[in-house]
Symmetry: C2
Subunit: 387 residues, 2 copies
């Protein structure tokens, strides 16, 4: 078997299918049955024989449309299994056009099976239109920060445990050094050491002060946590004191919260990858495309060579997924992060090109003194300025 494609029967139903590509490990003799089982699992969750309703048979059961052998890797042979790319056409109607349910229909039950990964997704234009994508995207973040061209800079307020005053002092130093976006560390939530309602006004005031005094446009993005109502309450409080950008971790909060916040906050959202790395969903798909489709304006991911061990090709694929043309979705800003050494920032910026935001955290804070100088050097390196 090399590649065999079962065409979807033409007609109105065509428009209502999304195509998910799964990487499946199986014996060649079993792959057809495994692919069929996958199609059933991600639609009716029943043996085909147990489905008697004509419409369900014709329009709802997912269909295997392609099975393709992947190039053999060295280690595969031992177990007698091979890797296949299996494309399943899933009835769009089963997703209810809702972010969480889409994820559920793409990989909910199959996530429980060790032999399969979700690799890719193709959606028809009519389905894409039911999701809004980034409301602001790269253009919106450029407008907000006043960075009309070239890469942007970002850093994180940390460590968790500092009082609000300490975090605000650090935020002011970051703003003075010319960093474009200062975000909460994703570990900052609503903790007693710096409760959201105390921390956020304090930090926003500190940054506003620097912006006024020095004519800068540094933007603060606090972290929204808890359930959706808690997040909306935090956002309302933050907006009242001038916050215009937010951070959230969609795999912790649920992607439906991302979609709701994107609809309602009227401010760019940075998506953090916490809990997302291990989902056996291809990272470019999850962090680059799905988060974008659900409304993330920027997507943070660990750059290769930092402390997360992701391949450079994977990081490039995430950036491409976030930025490249995809239906009418505005491009989302790729934010490489995860232990980038400030000394390498210029090279990393060059590798991602103009439409990216470099997030450097710990490397700027190493050592008690000189934070502001290191930040200035980071900004200069990313902006390609001689210092």
């Amino acid at each position: 078997m090399d590649a065999h494609r079962h065409p979807i029967a033409p007609g109105a139903a065509d428009k209502c299918r999304i195509e998910a590509v799964y990487r499946v490990r199986a014996r060649a003799s079993h792959i057809e049955a495994r692919a069929e089982a996958l199609a059933l699992e991600q639609s009716v969750e029943l043996p085909r024989a147990a489905v008697t309703d004509r419409r369900v048979l014709d329009e709802v059961i997912a269909r295997v449309v392609d099975i393709r052998t992947r190039p053999a890797a060295g280690a595969d042979a031992d177990a007698g299994t091979q890797a296949f790319d299996v494309t399943i056409a899933i009835a769009a109607e089963t997703t209810g056009s809702e972010a969480g349910q889409l994820l559920n229909m793409l990989f909910g039950n199959s996530s429980l099976q060790d032999d399969v990964e979700l690799a890719d997704l193709r959606i028809p234009a009519g389905f894409a239109r039911r999701f809004r994508g980034p409301a602001h995207g790269i253009a919106g973040i450029r407008a907000l920060t006043g960075v009309a061209q070239g890469p942007l800079t970002c850093t994180a307020l940390k460590p968790v445990g500092l009082p609000a005053s300490g975090l605000a002092a650090l935020a002011a130093a970051f703003a003075r050094s010319g960093i474009d976006v200062v975000k909460d560390d994703h570990g900052l939530a609503d903790q007693a050491s710096a409760p959201f309602a105390e921390r956020v006004p304090h930090i926003q005031r500190a940054i506003d002060g620097v912006n006024r005094a020095e004519g800068r446009r540094c933007v603060y993005a606090p972290s929204l946590t808890g359930d959706l109502r808690a997040m909306l309450g935090q956002a309302a409080l933050a907006r009242d004191c001038g916050v215009r950008m937010f951070l959230l971790a969609p795999m912790v909060s649920g992607v439906a919260s991302l979609a709701a916040l994107a609809r309602e906050l009227g401010a760019p959202l940075l998506a953090h990858p916490a809990l997302a790395g291990c989902a056996r969903i291809a990272r470019p798909l999850l962090l680059g495309r799905l988060f974008r489709m659900f409304g993330a304006d920027a997507t943070i991911f660990p750059h290769a060579g930092g402390r997360f061990g992701w391949a450079l090709s994977e990081c490039e694929a995430i950036a491409a997924a976030a930025r490249s043309e995809w239906h009418a979705f505005a491009p989302a800003l790729p934010v490489p992060a995860g232990g980038i050494d400030a000394a390498r920032a210029g090279d990393v910026a060059a590798a991602y090109g103009d439409d990216a935001m470099l997030l450097v955290g710990g490397s700027l804070l190493a050592g008690a003194d000189g934070v502001e100088e290191r930040c200035r050097a980071f900004v200069a390196a990313v902006k390609g300025l001689a210092q």
Copy 2:
């Protein structure tokens, strides 16, 4: 190195540490450094040298308290690495005592690193008290269903795509056959084929009719989907027409939504494992203990031998984690599922003991006719009744 334990300094801070156990793959010569990096990653996200605040150093940075070599498995030797159990004491204050943030501090960033799994969690009593656990638990589900002793039975309404009337007719058949709990298939959301607001009253009426006519106490658990506000709206509508139990998938909705619904709905919650299987968080910990801690009254998981390939020992560990004594948390009901053949139901029920609910779906629906008879046989087998 065999096992070396650094005792946590005694004092008030002790009470504020939770202990997370990670399974780490590393070279023996690197494990101490890897464990230290893990402790930093899951707390301050900074190199230790970059932390200058005394309180953060003393009370907030996570500490490595134990590194233990795991028994070697055959395949490990090749790569020159070994498996270790690394115990990290995480400052409870960093979690804000909130479900999502707890998951974030346990595994948010480390989920992005391929060499580590979250294996276990130990929490002090003071921290446990900040979470409510199941509000109803096994006793509450028994009270609601009127099943004072012995295992319970459950099935799922499917397939997605049927109209509300078709699902309601199926629900009535299930109720007539004596099944204790009829839940929505987790693929049922708010789809055009059977919108929540139409489906749920229809099904509840059908089940109520059977309950009245035959003196039964079958309970219907519809699936709540979307963001928290959507879920609360669905729940309010459902409760108005008599629904007294709900299903949700916490890894899709976010665990904070589970915690919020557990606080507010006043009805038992069944947790579905969609998206939870691939999280590289040990399944007994995630499905058995964390879901329980966050308020799930019952936890659904694929039984060994079905179509998900989980080991029997893992299923037993999930059931034990859900039911065994753990702080003041009420025990949660284990719900083995995932392709159990109705013909095996008696044996499976015997294996889990009295405090379990068997969820059989597809096997009851296989074939157009005889659903009710198959359901009756399933109920009889689980209840240990001769038919």
